[in-house]
Amino acid sequence: MHRFANPNRFLKLANAILPWAAGLTVILTLAGLYYALVASPEDYQQGATVRIMYVHVPAAWMALFVYTAIAVASAVALIWKHPVSDLFAKASAPVGAAFTFIALVTGALWGKPMWGTWWVWDARLTSMLILFFLYLGHMALMNAFDDPQRGYKAAAVLALVGVVNVPIIKFSVDWWNTLHQPASVARMDGPAIDPAMLTPLFLMAFAFKAYYITVALLRMRGEIAEAKVRAISMSQVHG
């Protein structure tokens, strides 16, 4: 792991991965779109609205996955003082926030025909909303300091505090939800899933993962360039 603590060595690796990740994103997205919109059956209960699931559910998975990835990177950054994992955490947060936002909006768009209203305080949607605030807090804290190093460290501690809290929040929201809402509303997981629906679901999930890798690597490259710019300007001031 420490092999890639050197930004230049990391850049070499990133540049080797990038074309593959980008190509995979395009191919998987196109295949996913074909299966999601054309080559999959309609649900006998939900009709064509089931097609929203193929973006909603993978986006929700990604929202949790990216937050976990940030927490792991934060732990690595705090324990081993690994600079590339700081960059990774910073590069991941906006992507995770975007996926969380997508899960929220598509959830509302799915909810309207299912429940008759745009927003229901459904346990999953509510948890997603709170996760979105956690992302916003992480990003705001990361950028709130003049010294980027201080931002990295503070955001890393916050990510670890957040990841301990996510299950507790989930548990509380589920409790609160069962208390206030009889289980009459249609659940987001819907009826038993047809195997033909799994193909678009997993294609989209992998397309989103490849997209995440691509964008995170590009952002990290930008951050490394930015760090070099800072270093040069500093040396010019002090020199």
Binding site: A140, F145, A154, V157, L158, I168, W175
Partner: protein
């Protein structure tokens, strides 16, 4: 232990000398709760229904009000440097600071809550549980808030940022605090909610000072 007591004593003495903080928090609490009947109408039925939620949400906001000063003054005058360099474990000293913060802000809220519950026409069955739930919940709020307060030291617009960081983490306390009081009013069992609130307090007391200490060390680095 001596370090813990020394920090508590010091912070209490400072709070007493400067005053205002506890008064400000309680005044905010009372004022905000009083606003609700104007906002949603004075019918006793509606007020009774929302009383527990209003009291808890307002308490969350009030306890956050004084958080950004928890470490800020120590950070500015340099005493935080001394505290972090003390041979005593930093998390114990942090616990002392949080305890002092709770004594000056959480305890007054606890005292004011039943009075405000009367104003909101809350059923008297809920009063006892309200006080117990506040006693278990507000220290948790102080503990979680301390992590946020330590993280935003030296940040731009720290006060607003603090609320963004801390409020989502307060949600579990809010859910179970309100649920306990509501259950008591409706004559349902409420022991589970109080036990969970107690569990949150224990968990927060074990983990938060540690996270706060980590954040403080980075702030003074």
């Amino acid at each position: 232990m001596s370090g813990f007591l020394a920090v508590v004593r010091r912070d209490l003495r400072l709070a007493l000398r400067q005053g205002s903080d506890s008064m400000m928090v309680v005044t905010f609490f009372v004022l905000t709760v009083v606003l609700f009947p104007f906002g949603i109408g004075p019918e006793p039925g509606i007020l009774e229904r929302v009383a527990a939620g209003v009291l808890w949400v307002t308490a969350l906001l009030a306890s956050m009000l004084s958080l950004d000063r928890l470490f800020q003054t120590d950070y500015e005058d340099g005493s935080l440097d001394l505290i972090t360099r003390s041979p005593q474990p930093l998390s114990v000293l942090v616990l002392g600071k949080v305890a002092a913060h709770w004594l000056t802000t959480g305890l007054p809220l606890l005292a004011a809550a039943p009075l405000l519950a009367v104003l909101l026409n809350m059923n008297a069955d809920g009063f006892g549980v309200l006080v117990v739930a506040f006693a278990l919940g507000t220290p948790t709020l102080s503990l979680i808030g301390a992590v946020g307060a330590a993280l935003v030291l030296g940040a731009r617009r720290g006060g607003v940022l603090l609320s963004l960081l801390v409020l989502p983490l307060y949600i579990p306390v809010l859910v179970f605090g309100v649920s306990a009081v509501d259950a008591a009013i409706m004559d349902l069992p409420f022991k589970a909610q109080l036990l969970i609130l107690g569990g949150f307090l224990l968990g927060a007391a074990a983990l938060c000072p540690w996270a706060t200490a980590a954040a403080l060390r980075q702030a003074v680095e």
